[in-house]
């Protein structure tokens, strides 16, 4: 059975997204999907255990987190300087740097570059290219685009968007994947994960060899040396960035880090946080295109520096730390809400706790203002973030902005107003409490439900039985 979900596309800067992401509705749909729930629970429990094992091996894990946090804070504080240094170094190594203000600019320039090199494009996994909806633009311009990361390939075959920042098909069971491959590639349905991988690899190998352009993301860009770092497990990024004659690397401007030596800490934190690995299978350090006398590498290397709203987040002092994200996905994996909804419910390629912060910042509070509220504030995300982004605080800050900017439903405003007024003095609270107990006794006697939205409590829970007297009446 193939579960197909889609969500509204990201806007261009010219046509802003107007449809509100209704997380409540989306999450309800996800909750009704029992196979999805089972698949997600298994995957998330496994990811959590893997991460914990990997973290336990590092005795000074907490110190490393702080160090990474500080390095990112420093890099962001001097972002202009480091981006300019990065540009000089990449250019000096023979690469070309392009500055893209927004998704439109990025799409146009990448399409132009790809078109100039040929029409066959292979891509390794890049959430940034998802963000700017690059594949659509390339295909529209007549390019053939193949996603080479197995998960992204499956997502592409299914006509969907990724459901997780690092595990694009986390929402699909092995059976669903087998059915998808069988349907789209005309192969038998395999039970074995190894078989499934082999089928995909055979289909993809030819694409690598024939491609004119390889497009990748960037995990880290080192300003000191102009080095693009790509972290992966399948080897597809290695192939995509070295076989075709042109390599286009797309990065959000916040990915720059000052020095090569800084990678020590980040490369310790990233794989352990993401997949519980000590190291991912392939880590590529790409400095410029092929040099004279070298046997490997693209003839041309293009680095696209994407803003697309990041400068605005950077200028927002409370929110700047969200740019420290190294896209490990750990916060998604520990989130009890994500576990029950997966990424599509968030209406964006950035989902989970970091998505609940970035999507409102990128798309605006009118579109994504529900997301910061879709959390019990359990704090599991902040606890695992390798760069110590205080995600619960950011969610709370965004909530206050939503209430200020968008207001809140009448029932909620009334409730808060009533609550705060009752709490303004002990005498008021005592009276309010007594009145509430009388009302409650009446309502339960005539079987009246609580007013909406409090009536929803009773969907799965009994109400507490109020005591005859409050503590203040018994003692105070």
């Amino acid at each position: 059975m193939v579960v197909t979900t889609t969500y509204d596309r990201r806007p261009t800067t010219v046509f802003p997204m107007t449809k509100r992401i209704d997380f409540e509705q989306n999450s309800e749909k996800a909750l009704q999907n029992a196979p999805l729930q089972a698949t997600l629970r298994t995957a998330m429990v496994r990811f959590r255990a893997l991460r914990i094992s990997a973290v336990e091996e590092i005795p000074d894990w907490q110190a490393l987190r702080q160090h990474a946090h500080d390095t990112k804070a420093h890099a962001l504080a001097h972002l202009d300087r480091y981006l300019e240094q990065l540009e000089r170094q990449v250019t000096g190594a023979g690469g070309v740097v392009h500055w893209a203000r927004d998704a439109d600019e990025a799409r146009n320039l990448i399409t132009r570059l790809a078109g100039s090199s040929g029409r066959r494009v292979v891509k390794s996994k890049s959430m940034t290219t998802e963000e700017i909806e690059l594949n659509d633009a390339l295909e529209h311009a007549g390019c053939e685009v193949t996603e080479t990361d197995l998960g992204e390939y499956l997502v592409q075959l299914a006509g969907e968007r990724p459901a997780h920042i690092i595990a694009p098909v986390v929402h699909k069971s092995k059976e669903a994947i087998a059915a998808l491959l069988s349907e789209k590639l005309g192969v038998p349905r395999y039970d074995d994960a190894q078989e499934l991988t082999r089928v995909a690899r055979e289909a993809l190998r030819r694409k690598f060899l024939e491609a004119d352009v390889g497009i990748s993301g960037v995990n880290f860009a080192v300003a000191e040396t102009g080095t693009i770092v790509v972290v992966e497990n399948e080897g597809n990024a290695r192939l995509a960035t070295t076989l075709p004659r042109m390599h286009i690397a797309v990065m959000g401007i916040e990915k720059v880090i000052p020095r090569l030596a800084d990678l020590d800490v980040f490369l310790t934190l990233l794989p352990r946080s993401a997949t519980g690995q000590r190291m991912s299978s392939y880590v590529s350090f790409l400095t410029g295109p092929r040099r004279a006398g070298e046997a490997d590498g693209p003839q041309e290397l293009h680095l696209v520096l994407l803003d697309n709203g990041r400068t605005a987040i950077h200028a927002d002092s409370s929110m700047r730390e969200s740019l420290a994200c190294i896209r490990c996905g750990a916060c998604l994996n520990v989130c009890p809400v994500f576990e029950r909804t997966a990424g599509h419910a968030y209406g964006s390629e950035y989902s989970g706790p970091i998505g609940a912060v970035l999507t409102p910042l990128f798309e605006g509070l009118d579109v994504a203002g529900d997301l910061p509220f879709a959390s019990s504030l359990c704090g599991a995300c902040g606890e695992v973030c390798p760069v110590k982004i205080e995600l619960p605080r950011l969610l709370l800050e965004l909530r206050s902005r939503v209430v200020r900017q968008r207001g809140a439903p009448v029932a909620e405003r009334l409730f808060v107003w009533g609550w705060v007024n009752a709490m303004k003095s002990a005498r008021r609270l005592a009276i309010a409490g007594k009145v509430a107990r009388v009302v409650q006794r009446f309502m339960s006697a005539v079987h009246l439900p609580l007013p909406y939205p409090f009536s929803r409590w009773s969907a799965s829970r009994e109400l507490p039985t109020p005591p005859a007297k409050a503590f203040r009446e018994r003692t105070l």
């Binding site: 909750l31 509220f373 800050e397 709490m423 609270l429 829970r461 507490p464 109020p466 007297k469 105070l476």
Partner: protein, 239 residues
């Protein structure tokens, strides 16, 4: 040491037994807490829901009322975390208040951390001959770092058999307004928690937060479970 009892609005109005148990336990440890009759609410529910100006009104009131105490003890991890972790964020625009907020935070303790870390007591002379499982309420756990203290105290309760809870650190799904705004998700998280509670074989589930327990108990009673929810204070007060 002048110790004040921060009852919390929820416990005052809905679970007075928890407050009484807290006083009993403190008295057994030689502490006579000041009851501060004028107290009402720390403002957390408004703060969590994004209504910060409204929350500030209550936060300022709370700071004024508890100014004099050397230590403020509360049987609620989330309310202690509100004061210690979030008051400075809520009141950051008022420089006079941020210093007081920091000071208040440093003196505000959840009950189990007060008993173990400040009074250095793990045995409070309790007896509770039942099978009990412990749920680690999120704010106490991650906000305050309350991890071992409740378990230390429970392990010293006579005849109490502690059962481990699968997914002990997973959120129960209450989350304040989240419980009604995203009732489906809240219910689903509760369902997972209840299954773990049943699987533990315990007769009682306990925690440091009455809010979690209200939510869990609501679910257990809806499912007609034989398991009962009881606050840690109530277990520690039992003899």
């Amino acid at each position: 040491m002048r110790v004040a009892l921060f009852v919390t609005c929820l416990i005052d109005q809905l679970f007075p037994g928890v407050a009484e148990a807290t006083v009993t336990v403190l008295r057994r440890c030689g502490i006579e807490p000041a009851l501060v009759p004028e107290q009402t609410c720390c403002g957390q529910i408004a703060f969590n829901d994004g209504f910060w100006p409204e929350s500030r009104t209550l936060a300022r009131r709370h700071l004024d009322l508890f100014e004099g105490a050397d230590a403020v003890v509360t049987p609620s991890g989330s309310c202690a975390a509100m004061v210690r972790e979030f008051y400075s964020m809520l009141l950051q625009e008022d420089h006079n208040l941020t210093a007081r907020a920091h000071h208040a935070g440093a003196r505000t303790y959840e009950l189990t951390e007060f008993l173990v870390d400040v009074l250095h007591r793990s045995d409070v002379g309790a007896r509770f001959p039942h099978r009990v499982t412990y749920h680690a309420s999120c704010h106490g756990l991650r906000g305050l770092g309350v991890r071992n203290q409740p378990l230390q105290l429970l392990s010293r309760v006579q005849d109490l058999e502690l059962r481990t809870l699968d997914g002990v650190e997973e959120c129960c799904g209450f989350g304040g307004m989240f419980a009604v705004k995203f009732a489906g998700l809240s219910g689903a998280m509760l369902e997972t928690k209840m299954r773990a509670i049943e699987a533990s074989g315990a007769e009682f589930v306990t925690a440091t937060d009455a809010s979690c327990l209200m939510h869990i108990d609501g679910g257990l009673r809806r499912q007609r479970s034989s398991v009962k929810a009881l606050h840690v204070a109530e277990i520690l007060a039992s003899q």
